[in-house]
Structure formats: C-alpha cells, structure tokens
Symmetry: C7
Subunit: 83 residues, 7 copies
Amino acid sequence: MVNGIERPLDLLNNSKGKEVLVQLKGDKQIVGTLLAFDIHINLVLDNIKEIEGGEVKRNLGLGFLRGDTIIFISPSSTSLKKD
Amino acid sequence: MVNGIERPLDLLNNSKGKEVLVQLKGDKQIVGTLLAFDIHINLVLDNIKEIEGGEVKRNLGLGFLRGDTIIFISPSSTSLKKD
Amino acid sequence: MVNGIERPLDLLNNSKGKEVLVQLKGDKQIVGTLLAFDIHINLVLDNIKEIEGGEVKRNLGLGFLRGDTIIFISPSSTSLKKD
Amino acid sequence: MVNGIERPLDLLNNSKGKEVLVQLKGDKQIVGTLLAFDIHINLVLDNIKEIEGGEVKRNLGLGFLRGDTIIFISPSSTSLKKD
Amino acid sequence: MVNGIERPLDLLNNSKGKEVLVQLKGDKQIVGTLLAFDIHINLVLDNIKEIEGGEVKRNLGLGFLRGDTIIFISPSSTSLKKD
Amino acid sequence: MVNGIERPLDLLNNSKGKEVLVQLKGDKQIVGTLLAFDIHINLVLDNIKEIEGGEVKRNLGLGFLRGDTIIFISPSSTSLKKD
Amino acid sequence: MVNGIERPLDLLNNSKGKEVLVQLKGDKQIVGTLLAFDIHINLVLDNIKEIEGGEVKRNLGLGFLRGDTIIFISPSSTSLKKD
C-alpha cells in the first residue's frame, strides 16, 4: 500500500516539495510546502498558513519550525483524499 | 502467553503493518497502521484517525508522529479482544 | 528485608512477569503485567488496565509505555499486602 | 521557487542581516534583525520589538534569544508580501 | 557539622536504608526507605507512603521513582528533629 | 552598526560587566550586571533586581541563574536608548 | 567589585558553607547552607527552610535538591545587605 518507508524520516523525505499539515503543541496548525528537515525534525516550509478553527489566520510565507513543538506532520494530499 | 518480547521496541516491531492505538499527551488519541518507528519512538502511521470522546474527529491518511508527545502505544486487536 | 536491589533497575528486573501499578503524569494510572523495560524506563505491559478513581476505565491488552511520562512503578503485590 | 535551502539552518543563514518574526512559546512575538544563530537555534537579534495583539509592546534593542522557547522564525519580507 | 558530603550523591549514599521524604513535582509527597538510586536520581524505596495534606493517602510498599519528577529528597530524621 | 557578533555567545561576552535585562519563563524579569556565563546560558549576575510590572520587587545582590529558565537577555543600554 | 568569578559555577564554589536562597519553579523558595553541588546544579543544603509569603513554612534539615527545578541561587548575605 505505502512503499519505501522503512524509517520515519523516509516519509519526510518523500514529502519534500509537497504541502504538509503540521500540528503543533498548544492546538496550533500550520500548512506549508516542505522544503527541508533535519534529524531534530526542524522544518523549513514555504507558503506557510496558520490555521485556527479550520480558517487561515495568518500567511507567513517562508519559515523555520523548531522540531520540539511539533506533534505530527501529515502530507495534505492523503488528508484531503479521505476527509 | 506473549512471546518474543525481550525489549520494549520488540512490541513495536511486532506491530508493523497492524493497527495501533496511540495515546498522546493532552488527551489526544490517534489510531493508524504502524509503518515505521525509530529509537526516539517517532512513528509513521497510515490511515490515521484522530479520536475524541470515542468518535473519529478527523481522517489524516499518512503521517509522522514525534515520539516525545506519545504516552502509550497499543496494538488495537489486543484492545478490542478484551474490552 | 528486601534483597538483591542494588540499582533502581534491579526492581524492574525482579518485577518481570508480575503485575505492576504505574503512576503517570497527569493523574493517570495503569495496571499491567511487566514484560520488558529499557534504560529509558520505556515499558511493555500486558493486560493493561487504565484506572481512574479506583475503577477500571479501559482494558487495553498489550502496550508500550514511554518512560518519560512515568512517575513511579510499584509491584502490585507489595501494594495490596499493606493497604 | 526557493533556492539554496537544503537543510533547515540554510534559511537562517540566508536571513542574516534581515528582519525576522520570531514566535515564542506562550504567545509572545518578537521582531528583529537577525545577527547570529547557532545549532541550538539561539539567536542574536538587533532592533528587537516585542509584539502583542499586533502592536509594539516594548523596544529592546539588541538581545539574545534562547532557542528552546522558539516555535518558528519567519523572514518578515515573505510575510508582508502575502498578508 | 555535616561530614563526608563532597558531592550531592554522597547524601543519597548516606541515606541508604533510612527513611527519606521525597517532594515530587505537582505537590505530591512520598515517604519511604531508600534502597537504591542512580545518577538520574531514579530511586527505589520500600514502605512507600503517599502523603497529602500531612496525612497518609496510600501505602504502596516497594516502588521505583523516576528521577525527573523529583524536586527534593530529605532524610526524615533531620526533618523530624527540627519540626 | 553592530560589530563583532558572529555567534550568539559573542553578545554575552560583549555584555560582561554591563547591566542586562533577563526575561525568564513565567513572566519574571531580572536586571543585573553580567559577571559570567557558560554554554548552558547559566549566568552569574551582580546587583540583581527582580522586576514586576515595571517596579523593583526585590533586591538580591549576587546570584546564579539557570539557563533553562531564560527566554531572552538584552543589554540594558540598548533597551533604554530606544524605549 | 566581585572578584574570582570567571565561570557561573565559581559562585557556587564560593558559597559553600554559606546560607543561600534558592528560587524553585512554581514559586517555591528554599533557604539553607550550601554543602555540595554538581554540574547539573544538583545541590545538598543543610538547615533547609521552605519559605512561603516571606514566612518559614517547614524546616527540613538536610536535603538534596535536583538542579532542573531551580531558577536562581543567591547567597543570602548579599541579599540581606541590599534589601
């Protein structure tokens, strides 16, 4: 069904250049295009949108997210397909 | 009764390809098929469902979960069998 | 009175195959049979019961508990004997 | 679209000498000119402004920010362009 | 006045086999006989009593306490002597 | 404009012997003369004043601050200049 | 003005055998005579007094304090001199 994911970071590698949904601690959500990540799960996203209650609260363009505030990261396409 | 579990990560290894229930800090619950994990307990799950009050709140497809927000991980079949 | 415990992990080693009470941060309690542990105090328990207000809230079967959410672990027999 | 960002710290490197928006834990926001950073995401900013509710609360000039209180860092120009 | 304590762990070493008061984060208190400790300040105590508002709330017998929930550890005799 | 700051700790080094404003987690503020620091951002300050609501709450003289409670450190002169 | 403090731990070394005020996370205060410390800022204090609202709440004699709950440590004499 899902191929080529042997280690968790493989999913992030497969998601480069794609839109991802990032759930942060404290009920914040970020949507953006994944440009880069490292082993601390620090991310660089482009076209960042802060989401609150299903609505876009703020457009932030390019940004760096520190890994330790992240709960989960999900490629948006898989989310949209099943919602 | 339960064989082949000498170290905690053995249970995660045995659960690959199976549905697991993941309890997160802050009373969030996630159900999904375990595809990959690492020593930080970072997980990749497929067919992710966020559960709230026993109901599916959101379908997220494929996703990466950071280990440090996880309280426990339980293979769903053992849960269903005994409830 | 208590023999053979020179280092804290010796108690966990002596408790393998026995029921233990695990107190988690945020006032959650878990009872289960200890199958495995590691130096991070990650645990695998079988026959897990979530306890709330002295009552079983949920049966979860087999599960993996992350060490960093644990406050204390106590073999149930020593608890029952003295209550 | 965005070139030369292979690792997350590349974005910080590209942002040296430019104004960045820093979102801190606990809903604090800081705007300032990025002078230096390290692998812990400790930052030195100049012309620091604390922002609250979209208004400047305090001017702090030069300052050192500890990395572990940071949620995200965004170059201001990309933010202004799309707001 | 107090001899033989050059490093903090010397106090724990001197307290082996004696009753200690352990103050945990979140206003929990534990009294028990110290059997073992390690450099993470993980403890094994026997005859554990949970104390709340100066009263014994629960007897837990033998138990393992994770070091990272501990605020301070005080040999009970020195406490009783001066109260 | 600001010279000689290539790494974040350079700012702390430049601030030795000068008054700094230290913002702590939990809305505490400390003002004092920076005497020493290390890579954990542990600080020693002299003439420490705890500030609350813009007023001096307590004078503490000399003191050691643990790095992990610090949000930011700002040389006071740059702050006063722009307030 | 203050001599011989090149690194933060020098202040703790100079304070051995003297009374110190220790501010803990969660608004707890401890006063006691510093007997020992280590690089984690774990402390052993004697004649410990818990302070609440400027009053002694509890006398605890000798005790071990874990470094990670400490905000600051101040030799009492410098505090008394300037209050």
